[in-house]
């Protein structure tokens, strides 16, 4: 796999990070060298190895279905640049 200018542009768009051509050039260089390093793993034969979903050999702990009242509305809304009638207010987003 090779990282091109298009790949960088696509990743920037998906992660909502704005770029400029200098940044893009740097990224192409950095990401390609990272990929090249990680690509060494492809030398291994893993035909008979199950994908690893967690590095800890434990199973998930389960919680009981109990409500903890923690109306943190006022604290939480402080993180919003704007709020109205207990709603977060964000720039219009609609398809």
């Amino acid at each position: 796999m090779t990282i091109t200018k298009d790949t960088v542009k696509k990743i920037s768009k998906l992660s909502r990070i704005s770029t400029n051509s200098k940044f893009e050039e740097e990224m192409i260089k950095d990401l390609n060298s990272i990929i090249k390093f990680v690509d060494q793993l492809n030398e291994l034969n893993i035909d008979k190895v199950e994908p690893l979903s967690s590095v800890v050999n434990e199973k998930a702990t389960l919680r009981e279905d109990e409500v903890k009242k923690m109306n943190a509305k006022n604290d939480i809304l402080k993180n919003s640049p704007e709020d109205n009638e207990n709603y977060y207010v964000v720039p219009k987003v609609i398809e």
């Binding site: 979903s53 919680r63 219009k92």
Partner: protein, 487 residues
Amino acid sequence: MNNKFNYYLKGKKGEYEVVIGLEVHAQILSEAKLFSPSATKFGQEPNSQVSLVDAAMPGMLPVINKFCVEQAIKTGLGLNAKINNFSIFDRKNYFYADLPQGYQISQYKNPIVGEGKVILDMPYGTKEIGIERLHLEQDAGKSLHDQDPNNSFVDLNRSGIALMEIVSKPDLSSPEEVSVYIKKLRSIMRYLNTCDGNMEEGSLRADVNVSVRKKGSKDFGTRCEIKNMNSIKFIQQAIDFEAYRQIELIEDGKAVNQETRLFDNKKQETRSMRSKEDAHDYRYFPDPDLLPLKLDSDFIENIKKKLPELPDQKKQRLINEFKLSSYEAGVIISDKETSAYYENVAKNSDYKLASNWLTVELFAVLNKQNKNISDSPVSSINLAKLINLIKNNTISGKIAKTVFEEMVKTDGDPEKIVIDRGLKQQSDPKELEKIISKILENNGDKVKQYKSGKEKLFGFFVGQAMKETEGKGNPNLINDILKKMLK
């Protein structure tokens, strides 16, 4: 009712069939959310049921709600599906204002429930619909777009509520089948108490995949996905519109684009959603905050043992126990409350009459008043009493309808209504004989005509007797007496 499948759509160049698959999102009934202890109540003050986990504050860790896992397993068992002892939670990445994490925790390659099936009763026979999988995921928050001209308002109360996504195989072939399928899923989940199935409140929503192909073809056409539908009626309209749109494209020699579309019920059309080119790049990967879900067989077996009677089993039992037809039983079991009501009436009166009175008379009233069986104006005890009054000849079936009307108005006790209004059936043979001989005396000419072969006049005599008794004469007795006296 049409007894043959006939949903084929006519184009200019031949007939087409429609291939439909559904992704149904069902909100799990639980007290707390899937990964946080916030409440799940509907219709609360905005952002009042949001924990730091739901708001995706840095450093917060999700912990799975055991009951939600059980609910998913119950539903899986209700769908005759394979329960997976090992499943994994993945992150589905996308940006939207009502998704504070920037990703939805879902299950991708290893869902908690695998393949299953649902049986549909169609007028043309039973049809099996394959279930591809059921997985657990978080619901997103809710955005309101119509409160302000420049802004959207976001309420995170729904954020993090547990959802089951139930994916069907592309086995559905008409809007009618889709409607029956959704109702069947809803009925199964209501029996299991895993989802309330309330489409208006959004606890049951569906994405609908539609494609078309020439009638009889085995190939699949390119499909479009119609997103986020929460009304069976609109789903049916959307499928119909979308199928014709695709047929038109194909016949004009154009290609159907695989894309996501929205249904506009006011304009009765589907239209393409913007920004589709990136929409499907979700970059799934296992959520490092959550360990794999490993379930031992005992855990699953225990749930299996405690499963309640399911719609299909109940239907079979009603057919065996009460000798109902498959159709009648199907109507009665369609929801839990109706079948409980029926069993109450049937056990305390007559199972056959109970089915007739429930599905014909009471359903008509409920439809007219736009009510559910749970707020029926006539209680099951009173309906059973009414049926018993017919059975023991206190009133005729015809008078029973008058009593029933009164019961609907007043929620009254039928026994009392019959006494108060003097509706008791006249079943004294001597009294009836007296009345009938008088009628025959007064209508000597008609008796002569009858005896010389004009047998149609029998109905006239019955009518007269009914008139004389003000509709209260026992019709069977009147028939018998007339037959005897007219010999």
